[in-house]
């Protein structure tokens, strides 16, 4: 019973650990708990995929509409000598 309780992780804790691991390394026991949980939980599996996809999108954000920068360029040039 003791071991089972050490290994069992709630979904709430599991997804928190998933995101935590992108900021700081997990302890060996946390990594084991997470691996056991992820092996059996579909919902948290979907969360993991989506969280990783969001990470990827955040890292590679390039799209933003084109802007008319004429006025801004003039304003900047006024602030610069020459």
């Amino acid at each position: 019973m003791g071991i089972i309780h050490t290994l069992l992780l709630s979904c709430k804790k599991a997804v928190a650990l998933l995101d935590q691991s992108t900021v700081v390394p997990l302890s060996p026991i946390e990594r084991l708990q997470l691996r056991v949980h992820m092996g059996i939980c579909k919902g948290c599996g979907a969360y993991k995929h989506q969280s990783e996809l969001i990470d990827h999108l955040l890292e590679n954000r390039s799209r933003a509409e084109a802007f008319d920068t004429k006025a801004l360029e003039e304003r900047i040039n006024l602030r610069l000598p020459g």
Binding site: D19, G43, S62
Partner: protein
Amino acid sequence: MSKKTGSSNTPTLSRSESDISSWVDKYTQDLLRYTKARVKDLSVAEDLVQITFVAAWEGRERYAGQSSIRTWLFSILKNKLADHYRKAYRDPVLHRTEELEIERFADNGGWLPEHRPTEWSMDALQEAELLEEHLAHCLQGLPPHWRAAIEMKYLRNVDAKEICQELGISVTNYWQQIHRAKLKLRDCITNQLQKRNH
């Protein structure tokens, strides 16, 4: 800083002068696009681009030509953005706008049925553009200090400890904010995708 008294028009200086206005022509669009994807208001983005050029002008003697001008301008811009997030993060007024968090989990820590994630029914690679659009929309809906925390994570190559020092919070506090922001972004994108399908 070298002092060049009496030579108000040295060749090096006048070349920098013409360079900087050609930089404005060349890079304003890129810098603004990058910034607007990362802050809420266009006017704030414009101000950040402007102070980037001013800082570049003031620090032009430190630009030694070892990186490209574009890279150099972007590194200045990223520092200005970090300043901006730090301020946004610490602004007590913005902190008070924190919303009530919705409960996604039952008492035993399991997902509530309506919040249990299911795979997005899409080819994420093919629909990357759509997802980027949804993400851009959903980022605007984050409480400002959560957004600041999450933006800091992707801005520069600095580790969590350094970011936490800059924001004045513990590492635990920091990853918890990242996690809350992620939960909310995931919910929001899921809703956007569902809206499209109905």
